[in-house]
Symmetry: C2
Subunit: 560 residues, 2 copies
Amino acid sequence: MSFTLGVDYGTNSVRALVVDCATGEELGVSVFNYPSGHQGVLLDKNNHHLARQHPGDHLVGLEKSVRAALADAAKKNGFSPDKVIGIGVDTTGSSPIPVDAKNVPLGCHPEWAKNLNAQCWLWKDHTSHNEAAEITRLAAKHRPQYIAKCGNTYSSEWFWSKIWHCLKTDPAAFDAAYSWVELADFIPSVLSGINDPKKVVRGVCCAGHKALYCDEWNGLPDKEFLSLLDPKLAALRDRLYDKAHDATVAAGSLCPEWAKKLGLPVGIPIAIGEMDVHYGAIGSGIKEGVLVKAMGTSTCDCAVVQAGKKVADIPGICGIVKGAILPGFYGIEAGQSAVGDIFKWFIEVVCLGDGKLYVQLEQEAKSQRPGQNGLLALDWNNGNRTILVDPMLSGLLVGQTLYSTRAEIYRALIEATAYGARAIIERIKEYGVPIDVVVCCGGIAEKSAMTMQIYADITGCAMRVSGSSQACALGSAVSAAVLAGKAKGGYDSFPEAQAKMTSLKDIVYEPKPENQKVYDDLYALYRLLHDSFGGVKNNADLSGVMKELIRIKEVQSKAL
Amino acid sequence: MSFTLGVDYGTNSVRALVVDCATGEELGVSVFNYPSGHQGVLLDKNNHHLARQHPGDHLVGLEKSVRAALADAAKKNGFSPDKVIGIGVDTTGSSPIPVDAKNVPLGCHPEWAKNLNAQCWLWKDHTSHNEAAEITRLAAKHRPQYIAKCGNTYSSEWFWSKIWHCLKTDPAAFDAAYSWVELADFIPSVLSGINDPKKVVRGVCCAGHKALYCDEWNGLPDKEFLSLLDPKLAALRDRLYDKAHDATVAAGSLCPEWAKKLGLPVGIPIAIGEMDVHYGAIGSGIKEGVLVKAMGTSTCDCAVVQAGKKVADIPGICGIVKGAILPGFYGIEAGQSAVGDIFKWFIEVVCLGDGKLYVQLEQEAKSQRPGQNGLLALDWNNGNRTILVDPMLSGLLVGQTLYSTRAEIYRALIEATAYGARAIIERIKEYGVPIDVVVCCGGIAEKSAMTMQIYADITGCAMRVSGSSQACALGSAVSAAVLAGKAKGGYDSFPEAQAKMTSLKDIVYEPKPENQKVYDDLYALYRLLHDSFGGVKNNADLSGVMKELIRIKEVQSKAL
């Protein structure tokens, strides 16, 4: 028997998973909640764009979660730590960390511990929206090819925007950093005992999607372009990396120090780091024709297309990067900046509710027919990632009367995220990428049958659910099994490993034609608001929106 | 010593007030909550437009509230019921009641008791929006003068829309009714023992503002026009009234039956019924140059202009009616369909809070600077009465992030109602009606200093507060004192009576220039949404709204 470990760094916690390579059975699991900030996120009450994480939380969490997962697995017959043949790591991204010349995060130095700019700049940090807009402008003028593959818009959530913002607003922190490492590359480098940022093995997943890396133009953006931003960024390029890799390349092998900390064999291979959703796509059985939606605080959509084929640049998506998900395939990423986070905001911040309230409101909301709430929302409380790529957009709710209930608003927010999902699917298909099946992973997909049915009815796609409730960690474990290879008890290819180690749940949510019809009308209203407030159309007639919501509401109320 | 009684019928309760004619001192008061429906309002869960009241509640409430107010006054030195020289009544409106040939409400007959259409059609009932639109269309074509004085739009809240809707949707109820009487006319007719609807003395306040009554065209709309709606409405005209009166005419005198029920002298005069806000305006000292805002569940704005002057028709306001408020003056009415009701919805329905939460959220919200919440709302949860006159509009909230708090949303809703108030003031002034001072009455004006300051900052007007917390009932009592006359211990004119019986609180809320500047920017955004969703402008560019809210928020957050 052989086992691999998948370690998944989320927004609020890190999770470790022990997987049986032969069957995909999940033998042990443990979750560690980051102790710092608000549920692990460092905030600034005067700047709601800011979201950081303490790198010390990541290191403590690595040891604690892996140790506990191994202890959990040890209760099962046949498992022992010496049968672990590899470790895979996935994280949120772009979540770059400023590090010193020894690959130690700035935030782990006592003198920088309190400085928010010295911490890990979490994916959802939007402080650098001005820098993102300026990079978009400069690239459009001087290097259009750089942004053609990421929807023609560089995001404030990404690598260069964040680093440039640090340089502009806190030059002391920027100067104190020798280099910057994505969390997805940093954790494998720690496990491998790499103490020089130049030697950290970088994954093409973060590099290609977030840092404008592409083999076509010899890696990262050239120094001439970076000088247009700031000469210091051009100088930084020399302290970053020349080459980024897909999952065929190892990030390293387990160093003695961390082997001891974790109680695992020295020298086992460490898979290349990928972003959570990319490994989650692998853990959900991604292949050509399958769209994987990872539904959590935010949502990411992944698709793949064989590398030989021609793929058009798709406006508004987050990127098309060769090898970002599966080696030998283009990885296509899109997403919504907030999904679960919007529900959480409504339940916890507005309603001051807890877990029970989710259950109660879902119970009430599921008896409502489409359109019966009379409400329409935009899913932009954290900006719009795809297809508008604009972090400066915000939420909107329209149609409320004096009688609109919590459950009606809750359902409207769920519907809003489904309309956002439909906009993404339509955009990807429009550019010729096949989507035959949608597989969802993440807590929402498992917990809320109502949400899945609403997604099916609104997108018109049958929705399936990943067999694992920890698809990201499972995908990391799959990558580790492929890296270890058949000879060590793993696999020689991803399709073989996925066939044995991943699965789908039996349930299929099929679109209901009578609901689709109503939601098509509501989606037209959603697009009207989307295009008006999003700046796609500047002369829309909105005078019918409220009346049309009332008309649909009345029809659907009488339909009961 | 002499005293008058004011009886004020609100949406959820009726209030009786005993007033000293010499000083305006309020000696006794009592509130009776209507027992039927939800807080006194009969609702239909399948039709949120519907709002009715049980006439039995009005009659029980009359006896109970007056009896209790007299008992309360009896504790004071000098008072005895035989010194009461008159009664004034104000009510919500348009709130027409179907009555039989003996002036008994249909809803008081056992066989009609459960039929919602046989009850009092409460002011905020919007079921007849189609009929209102059709009356507007027909009047514009055949009798433009009819609607020129009510903003060129007939409302679903008004007399003919409601009666026509009853005829169309429940002909049996329509046929069972001999006539229809406004609640403001009905209560005085009950007190006067009038048992023939044709003999009920009708006030010009409801007649002129709600039923298209005008001396210029010989009273109610002519039968030819009503036949265009339905021949049965033309026939009904003969069973309504020929003449409506201002407050110089008595509605009647107290009949022996009700004198006994209430313990008051037989034969004392009963003042003409006016709508609550109109008598509230009198109780708040209305005169030319003063705008009185009655702030409650909804808001009504009243102004007066001397009858000799030329007053232009003002688009979008509720009406210009000679004698509707003060005899000898044009009364101008405007209003917002929901104000306190919006706060109540948010606090009680969304937040599931109670009285304490109002206090808590105001405490939190008052420390926020203008624009700091980053939010903007439209105050249309119950439609828009002035200046768009469209019940089919609904609420909107924009700018919410994942961190927007209850207190921020609460403040945004208050601000929304203040923007709506500004739109009304600007419209009235634009047509040459002077507004030098704004006097507010009602619970909100007294309880929430924050709301008053926001109104001052947003409207740019100094806000004053009525000296009485029961301005409507006080105004009714003033009217009764004038009707009784100086010889009986009252007054011979309204100015004299107002000077002695009404007052203002000392506090003045002055606009703060630094707040006005920010709110001017936000009001421009409000008007953009107002005009787009309200159909005033059909080609607005909304792409900057969310970004401008963020810009203002960031400026105001740093200003701290």
